[in-house]
C-alpha cells in the first residue's frame, strides 16, 4: 500500500501549533489495541491495554478493537475470545501460518496493511521486546508519531491523545501529543496499567484481513526457540509479593538474605539498578524505570534508597514496606510502612518471624 498520501502536510511549520487535521486523516476512527500473541500465549499487557483503550474509546464515543495476528488454530481463536472478554467491541484478525513465530517483517506488513485499510485513530501496543520491535517499524513505515513507555493515557478537550511518559529516568514527566498525523501510537510497559475485570462475553464482530506476503518474501527464518529455564524470571512483573535488595545490603553475598525471605513467603525477588550495574544480579531482576515495573500486593524494599527511577517502577504496589538505615532516604517518601534499621540484621529476623507466623501450627492456634 502506498504511503505517498501519508507524508506531512505541505505547510509543515512547527508541529506544536495545532492545525486542522489533514483531510486524508479525518476518517481515522476507533481505538486499536495490539493483542500480543506469542507461542500460543497472550501477553497480559494486552489486557491491561484493553482496559485503558476502553476508557479512551468511551471518552471519544468510538469503538475499541483488538488486533490479533497469529497462525490458524486454537491459540489464535482463544486470543480473539479473550480480546472480547476484556472489553473489545470488535477484532481485526490476520490469520496466517507465517505469523506462527514473531518476525518483524510479516508482523510489520500485517499491521501496517491493517492500519492503512481500516484507519484507527489510536493504536496501543505493549512495550515488550515484541511490541517495541514492532511499534518502531510500524510507526516509521506509517510516518506517524509514537510515544513510548507511557504511564498515563488520556483524551484532551479537542479529542487528541495525551500520552504521558517519564523522561530522564523519571525525574520529569512529559505529556506528548501526535497532533497532525494518524494513528496516534503509544506503547505502555507491562504492569503500568491495572488489569481490567474479565467478563465472559460472546465473540463479537471479527473482521478478517489477508496477509499479502508469502514465506518466500520473508528473509528471516526461525531456527528454533529456547524457553527460559527459570520461568520465574518472567514472573517478577506479575508477582503478588516482591522482595528487593539495594546497595544497603553491602555485598552480593547478602542478597541471599533477600532470597531467603522471598522463599519463606512465596515471593519473587529483585534488586535496584546499582546492583545490576555492579553485576550482583542479572538485568532481568531489576525493578524500576529501566527494569521491570511491578504492581504486587506487597513490596518489601531492603536497603534501597528509592531513587526516582526506582519509584516509577514500584508505585503501583498496594503496600510498600521500606527498610533503610537512613531516615532521610527518599524511599520513605513513597513507602507506606518504614523501618529505620539495618536490612542485613533485620531481614533474617523478618524471615524467621514470617515463617513462625505462617506455619500451620501457629494457624491452628490462631483459629482456636
Amino acid at each position: 500500500m502506498s504511503n505517498a498520501n501519508r507524508e506531512a502536510p505541505p505547510s509543515a511549520g512547527r508541529a506544536g501549533i495545532k492545525r486542522e487535521l489533514p483531510e486524508h486523516f479525518r476518517d481515522y476512527r476507533h481505538v486499536w489495541v495490539f493483542i500480543e500473541l506469542e507461542r500460543g500465549e497472550v501477553h497480559p499487557v494486552s489486557f491491561e491495554l484493553l482496559g485503558e483503550g476502553r476508557k479512551l474509546a468511551d471518552k471519544l464515543g468510538i469503538q475499541l478493537a483488538g488486533i490479533v495476528l497469529g497462525p490458524p488454530g486454537e491459540a489464535t481463536q482463544h486470543a480473539v475470545a479473550e480480546a472480547f472478554a476484556y472489553g473489545a467491541d470488535l477484532v481485526y484478525l490476520v490469520e496466517a501460518p507465517l505469523l506462527a513465530d514473531y518476525r518483524n517483517e510479516p508482523f510489520t506488513k500485517a499491521m501496517t496493511d491493517l492500519v492503512n485499510t481500516h484507519k484507527p485513530e489510536i493504536l496501543l501496543l505493549g512495550a515488550t521486546t515484541l511490541g517495541r520491535d514492532l511499534a518502531g517499524s510500524v510507526a516509521t513505515t506509517l510516518l506517524t508519531g509514537l510515544t513510548a513507555d507511557c504511564t498515563e493515557l488520556d483524551v484532551d478537550v479537542d479529542g487528541s491523545l495525551a500520552a504521558t511518559r517519564p523522561t530522564f529516568g523519571g525525574s520529569l514527566l512529559c505529556t506528548i501529543y501526535t497532533l497532525n498525523y494518524r494513528p496516534q501510537m503509544a506503547t505502555v510497559r507491562p504492569r503500568v496499567m491495572a488489569m481490567p475485570p474479565r467478563t465472559d462475553k460472546p465473540v463479537g464482530r471479527v473482521i478478517r484481513h489477508k496477509l499479502s506476503m508469502t514465506e518466500e518474501e520473508i528473509i528471516t527464518k526461525v531456527l528454533g526457540f529456547n524457553l527460559d529455564r527459570q520461568s520465574a524470571k518472567a514472573n517478577l512483573a506479575y508477582a503478588d509479593i516482591v522482595v528487593a535488595g539495594g546497595l544497603g545490603l553491602g555485598s552480593a553475598e547478602n542478597l541471599q538474605l533477600v532470597k531467603n525471605l522471598a522463599r519463606a513467603i512465596g515471593a519473587e525477588y529483585g534488586c535496584s539498578r546499582p546492583l545490576v550495574q555492579k553485576g550482583w544480579m542479572p538485568a532481568d531482576r531489576q525493578v524500576g524505570q529501566t527494569g521491570k515495573t511491578i504492581r504486587p500486593k506487597l513490596y518489601i524494599a531492603a536497603g534501597i534508597s528509592g531513587a526516582i527511577q526506582h519509584r516509577v517502577g514500584v508505585e503501583g504496589a498496594d503496600l510498600i514496606v521500606a527498610i533503610n538505615t537512613d531516615p532521610n532516604a527518599p524511599i520513605f517518601e513513597f513507602a507506606h510502612l518504614g523501618i529505620v534499621t539495618d536490612a542485613i540484621r533485620f531481614l533474617p529476623a523478618l524471615t524467621e518471624a514470617f515463617t513462625r507466623r505462617l506455619s500451620p501450627h501457629s494457624h491452628d492456634k490462631l483459629a482456636s
Binding site: 518483524n104 515484541l130 518502531g136 516509521t140 513510548a148 527464518k221 526457540f225 527511577q309 521500606a322
Partner: protein
C-alpha cells in the same frame, strides 16, 4: 566488513537534578557519558571486526560537544567517528532522529563503503524509547534484530547471519541476511579497556563533522521539530505523595520484636494477604 554503530551522548542520569521551580533539567555540572547500553553494541562491533576484519565507524547526532562521546568511542578502538550536528536537528523526536541518522548512514556508505551491519544500543537512558534503532532499520530497508543476546555466526561472503534474540519467554534463534541492524541486549559482553595506542590515536583523530547539507539531507521538513510528528505539550515534576511512610517505632525493641510488629502492621493493612500467604507461602 564495515560496521556502523550509532551512539548517543547522554547526561549521567544518576546525577540529574530537576530545578524545583522551573521543572527543567539542571544540566550544568552533570557529566555526560556514552549511553551505557551503546557500549554493548560497540564492544560487539569491535569483536566482529577482530574476527572478520574491516572497520568500525561510530556515528552520533548531537550538539558539537557530542564530539567527546565520539572521542571516547575511538579510545575503545573504533576506527572512525562521524558527528552529525546542525541546529536544524534540534527538537527531533524518534521519527526525525531516525530519518537524520539513516541519511547520515547512507552518506557514510557512499564515503567509506556500505555497512554490512548497523548497531545501536537497546535504548538510551535519557529517552528510554528503544524506537530509534527500529526506525533506522525501516528507513534503510535493513533487516532488524532487536534485543540480540548473541551473534552466533556471520558468513560475510554468503551474506548470512544467525543470532539469538531475547523474546518475552525465551530466546529466538534467527537466521537472516546482511546487511542488517542489530540492537544489543545489556550484559551480553563487557566493553574492553582501550589500548594506549587507541588512546593516542583518539586524541589525534580528526572527527568527521557533517551539517545536514554535508550529510546529504535536503528535506529539512523531515528534521528537528518540523519533522517530528510528536509534540511535547507539558513537562512537569511527579507529584509527591502527601503521606510519608508510617515508621515503626524502634525504641527498646529487638529485631525480633520489630519483625513481629512489622508483620502485624502489614496484615492490618492487607488482611487478605495473611490468608493467601498461609496457603501459598511458607512452604
Amino acid at each position: 566488513m564495515h560496521i556502523v554503530i550509532c551512539i548517543k551522548q547522554v547526561p549521567d542520569s544518576a546525577q540529574i537534578r530537576v530545578h524545583p521551580v522551573t521543572n527543567t533539567i539542571m544540566r550544568q555540572g552533570v557529566p555526560t557519558i556514552i549511553n551505557p547500553y551503546d557500549l554493548f553494541a560497540l564492544e560487539e562491533a569491535l569483536k566482529l571486526r577482530g574476527a572478520h576484519g574491516g572497520e568500525v565507524t561510530v556515528l552520533t547526532m548531537g550538539p558539537p560537544m557530542a564530539e567527546d562521546a565520539l572521542r571516547k568511542a575511538l579510545t575503545y578502538g573504533a576506527d572512525r567517528a562521524v558527528l552529525l550536528t546542525d541546529r536544524c536537528f534540534a527538537g527531533s523526536d524518534t521519527l526525525a532522529t531516525s530519518f537524520a541518522l539513516s541519511r547520515a548512514i547512507v552518506r557514510i556508505g557512499e564515503t567509506f563503503g556500505a555497512p554490512d551491519i548497523v548497531f545501536a544500543g537497546k535504548q538510551t537512558i535519557d529517552g528510554d524509547t528503544a524506537q530509534v534503532g527500529p526506525g533506522i532499520a525501516k528507513r534503510l530497508g535493513l533487516l532488524q534484530f532487536t534485543y540480540v543476546a548473541k551473534i552466533d555466526s556471520i558468513d560475510v561472503d554468503a551474506r548470512e547471519i544467525t543470532v539469538k534474540r531475547r523474546s518475552e519467554g525465551g530466546t529466538q534463534m534467527l537466521k537472516s541476511r546482511l546487511p542488517c541492524l542489530i540492537t544489543m541486549l545489556e550484559g551480553t559482553n563487557e566493553i574492553r579497556r582501550g589500548s594506549l595506542d587507541d588512546a593516542m590515536r583518539a586524541a589525534r583523530s580528526q572527527i568527521v563533522k557533517w551539517s545536514a547539507a554535508e550529510a546529504g539531507i535536503e528535506d529539512l521538513n523531515k528534521c528537528g521539530l518540523r519533522g517530528s510528528p510528536t509534540v511535547v505539550k507539558r513537562v512537569f515534576a511527579p507529584t509527591t505523595k502527601a503521606e510519608k511512610a508510617t515508621q515503626i517505632d524502634m525504641t527498646d525493641k529487638t529485631q525480633h520484636d520489630l519483625a513481629d510488629e512489622l508483620i502485624a502492621a502489614i496484615f492490618t493493612r492487607q488482611p487478605a494477604l495473611e490468608h493467601e500467604l498461609a496457603f501459598d507461602g511458607g512452604q
